[in-house]
């Protein structure tokens, strides 16, 4: 799946987007964050405001971003 990062999440992770292939045991957003965080400390710092129990089954793209400040 493709994972995208925006605003300060993007700056903390250090990437705009990337393709990842988590193992089958990674079922929720919480699992995905933990799996990503094990790869690199920068991820752990970036994931603050998400719904960690949301299921990711079938997702093609997941975006991580901070609270919105448009308008």
């Amino acid at each position: 799946m493709k994972v995208k990062y925006f605003a300060w999440v993007r700056e903390r992770v250090g990437k705009t987007e990337e393709m990842v292939e988590p193992p089958a045991s990674v079922r929720t957003v919480d699992d995905l964050m933990a799996w990503l965080a094990r790869r690199d400390e920068s991820y752990a710092h970036a994931f603050a405001h998400v719904k960690p129990d949301a299921m990711i089954a079938g997702a093609r793209e997941i975006a991580f971003f901070p609270p919105m400040t448009g308008g």
């Binding site: 605003a7 971003f65 901070p66 919105m68 400040t69 308008g71």
Partner: protein, 155 residues
């Protein structure tokens, strides 16, 4: 007549008069147009702000604005609406966002414009980075923006 809905996300500035003309041209059923412009303020508290840089999530931003536009159309008898949101670097004094709403009578246009702005602030995937005398940093989401959006939720 069918409602005219225009939604654009762009780097360039917009011309309010041209946007109003595009919304109302050739129609005689419109009695009210409300225009809201969001402008980059040159101060935040005691700090001087030079510019904002707007980042957005393109695939989601347009869809999210369209969803709110549909909600506005279903809640008020609108003849049309226009939302233009700029992205990229915007200097103090420059336009950031335009909301136009058109209807037969003013009340629907006023309310729908306020509704759209409240929702854009809290729910559209845009992020502001501010360049000020305090340094450069991401603008924090404001709780009162969430509260402003929430008051439109029907109980």
């Amino acid at each position: 007549m069918t409602a005219r809905v225009t939604i654009r996300i762009q780097q360039a500035d917009f011309d309010i008069a041209k946007e109003i003309a595009a919304l109302t041209q050739g129609r005689t059923d419109i009695g009210a147009v409300v225009s809201f412009s969001g402008i980059c303020r040159g101060s935040e508290g005691s700090e001087t702000v030079a510019a904002l840089t707007l980042e957005h999530y393109p695939e989601m931003a347009e869809a999210e604005i369209a969803r709110h536009a549909e909600t506005a159309m279903s809640r008020w008898p609108l003849s049309g609406l226009t939302v233009v949101h700029r992205v990229g670097r915007i200097a103090a004094g420059e336009n950031i966002v335009l909301v136009l709403t058109a209807s037969q009578h003013r009340q629907a246009a006023f309310q729908a414009a306020e509704f759209l702005m409240d929702y854009l602030k809290a729910n559209a995937p845009f992020w502001k980075r501010e360049e000020s005398t305090a340094g450069t940093g991401w603008v924090d989401a404001r709780h009162h923006d969430d509260a402003a959006a929430a008051r439109w939720t029907k109980s």
